[in-house]
């Protein structure tokens, strides 16, 4: 229906931009990962797998990667645990106030990430709100140290940031479930609990997969929360990459790690896409 000229004009500019600013940079990253850094702090085009060997042999790297994945996994689980019942409540029990609640959930999403992470820092610190409150009510005598500068703080903050991300696709999936299916289930004798597990939950799985993917991928690559709140024990893989591009100056190694992260993310996206298709019934 649309002329070739129209299609060309519409397709060419974005295609060009995406090639220059997305495709080529990824390719560059790919190339960098095979290079190395000379003692003189110059980039040497060595074209070998040295960086990848380093990543998988040197403890600090692969251990941090695993720890990051574990942190991301915890964030995902908590986000789902917080987000799913909330989405279910909004979709099926909120009635007229559904819209208002929905807006309330997405508002924190658009409040600066930095601002919220910083706020947790003030809450969790030794002198922070939570500790002074706990001491005020005599729950504890001394400030709880583990609250800040620990993996706990990172998981807590990231869960706070990414719960709305987990919520959104789950809510969309729940909203798409035709209400007459719920009525039919009740009509056939299933209680609300049975209806949830047999009808509602299975039909919401694509949303759960999408939400989980979001939470996991974005937490995995996060470097701000660990920097602000993680302390030495809460370092994540992205922090290492950041330092490799900064003070530690080893761009090739940093590129190799980034590429691994990119590969991991892309594989997860493919996997989640497959899962969603498998569980999609409309």
């Amino acid at each position: 229906m649309f002329s070739r000229a129209y299609k060309t004009i519409v397709t060419a500019p974005p295609l060009l931009w995406v090639t220059v600013f997305l495709l080529i940079p990824y390719l560059l990253m790919f190339c960098y990962s095979f290079w190395s850094v000379s003692p003189a702090q110059t980039i040497v085009h060595s074209w070998d797998l040295a960086n990848y060997r380093t990543l998988f042999r040197v403890n600090v790297y692969w251990q941090t990667l695993l720890r990051s994945m574990w942190i991301a996994a915890r964030v995902t689980i908590f986000s789902l645990l917080l987000g799913y019942p909330l989405a279910y409540f909004l979709s099926f029990y909120a009635g007229k106030r559904k819209d208002l609640f929905y807006q309330l959930v997405i508002i924190p999403l658009w409040v600066s990430y930095l601002v919220r992470a910083y706020a947790w820092k003030t809450i969790l610190g030794s002198d922070g709100v939570l500790n002074t409150l706990l001491q005020y009510v005599h729950f504890t005598k001394h400030p709880l140290e583990f609250l800040l500068y620990s993996p706990f703080a990172v998981v807590l903050t990231l869960t706070h940031i990414y719960t709305p991300f987990a919520f959104l696709p789950i809510y969309a999936a729940l909203e798409h479930i035709p209400r007459n299916l719920v009525e039919a289930s009740h009509d056939l004798g299933a209680t609300p609990a049975q209806t949830f597990w047999k009808v509602i939950f299975p039909l919401s799985i694509p949303g759960v997969v999408a939400g989980a993917t979001f939470a996991f991928v974005l937490s995995l690559g996060d470097f701000l929360a660990p920097l602000l709140l993680g302390g030495p024990s809460g370092i994540m893989i992205s922090n290492i990459v950041v330092s490799l591009f900064g003070a530690a100056y080893n761009w090739p190694l940093g590129a190799a790690i980034s590429l691994c992260m990119l590969a991991l993310v892309v594989s997860l996206l493919f996997l989640s896409e497959r899962l969603e298709k498998k569980w999609s019934f409309s």
Partner: protein, 368 residues
């Protein structure tokens, strides 16, 4: 001459109730906010009967059905099944099942699993479920599609699965919410026949909701006509057709001519016509079915006992086996007449009908 039916008589069931009453709807009313949808409806449903709730959109018929199913609660009134209050129970405890308008089949389950859902949820043992599901699928002739998913079968097939899914639970009452409205005309007619014979076979009371009056006439033991939340008339198809209680009923079901007349000293005066009557003095409204009027040749002398009128043909509409012609008669009387197709109709015709075929009806008040 029949007396004008009073409002009480119109809603009293007119069939001999040899069958016992299964479901009793007592003065059920429903409002959504300021919107009054049902106004004090009372009716009884007998065991094993096929009752159709007929009405236009907005008449409240679907709401009434949903109240019986349990998806809405009545604003006032009660629903009894036997000696138990039905409306106090959640839908999953009622021995009532529903066939939904758009079937509401579970997309993630196969046909088999859909049909077995109610049994599984009730915790019936596996072998029993397998047997009963197979039996139900056989009844609706969907056995070979047992392992398919709903998205892979046609609308008509989905409808049969929905039917099987409801019936397999052996409910005391089956509710059908316009189940045929999404089907095309031929399939619809076929399904009407199938549904009717299925109902006879299982012997369960069916409550069928539709806006299609032909469908209602074909399938029902009784028809309950709703208008703006009130019950206009409840009667067998033949009675509702030949003795409509109100002008609305007469016009809703089939075609009719409404004749306005006046009774003075035992004589009805209607345009240029008059005939003797036992109706009381005052204005009176008649329903005259088009098929009750004969077209006769002008030459033929007036038949004794028949009323005769002459007129000019305005319009002729072909309806297959019959034709409907509109005739302008003396005064401002316009009559619609049904004649067999193929007979030549001149421009000026003589019409005859008997006084008995003019059925007195109550006028219908305008309603929102």
């Amino acid at each position: 001459m029949a007396t004008i039916p009073s409002s009480a008589a119109a809603v009293r069931p007119t069939t001999a109730t040899a069958k016992s009453s299964l479901l009793s709807i007592r003065s059920v009313a429903k409002s959504f906010g300021k919107n009054v949808v049902l106004r004090e409806i009372s009716l009884d449903i007998a065991e094993g009967e096929f009752l159709t709730i007929l009405g236009e959109s907005g008449s409240g018929k679907t709401t009434l059905l949903r109240i019986v199913a349990g998806f809405e609660s009545a604003s006032s009134g009660e629903v009894w099944m036997g000696d138990e209050r039905l409306d106090r129970q959640p839908p999953y405890r009622r021995r009532v099942n529903t066939v939904f308008q758009h079937y509401a089949l579970f997309p993630h389950l196969t046909v088999e699993q859909n049909v077995g859902y109610g049994l599984r949820v009730a915790g019936r043992p596996n072998p029993e479920i397998v047997t009963r599901v197979a039996e139900a699928l056989g009844k609706v002739r969907m056995t070979e599609h047992a392992k398919s998913k709903p998205s892979k079968i046609s609308g008509g097939q989905q409808q049969r699965v929905a039917l099987a899914r409801a019936l397999v639970n052996r409910p005391r009452l089956l509710l059908l919410d316009e189940p045929l409205s999404a089907l095309d005309a031929n399939l619809r007619r076929q399904m009407q026949v199938e549904l009717k014979s299925l109902q006879r076979e299982v012997g369960i009371a069916f409550v069928f909701v539709t806006h299609d009056q032909e469908e209602a006439m074909v399938m029902s033991d009784r028809i309950a006509l709703l208008r703006s939340g009130e019950l206009e008339q409840i009667a067998t198809p033949r009675e509702i057709y030949s003795r409509p209680a109100t002008a609305y009923v007469a016009q809703f079901i089939g075609h009719t001519n409404l004749l306005q007349g006046e009774v003075r000293q035992g004589v009805v005066h209607c345009n240029s016509l008059s005939w003797a009557t036992q109706l009381p003095e005052g204005p009176v409204l008649f329903s005259l079915r088009p098929e009750s009027i004969q077209v006769v040749s002008a030459a033929k002398p007036a038949t004794p006992g028949q009323l005769r009128v002459r007129g000019r043909v305005l319009q002729q509409a072909f309806h297959g086996a019959t034709e409907l012609i509109r005739v302008q008669c003396l005064g401002d009387l316009v009559l619609t007449v049904r004649t067999p197709s193929g007979t030549g109709i001149p421009d000026e015709v003589d019409l005859e009908f008997s006084a008995a075929s003019a059925v007195p009806v109550r006028p219908s008040a305008g309603r929102n």
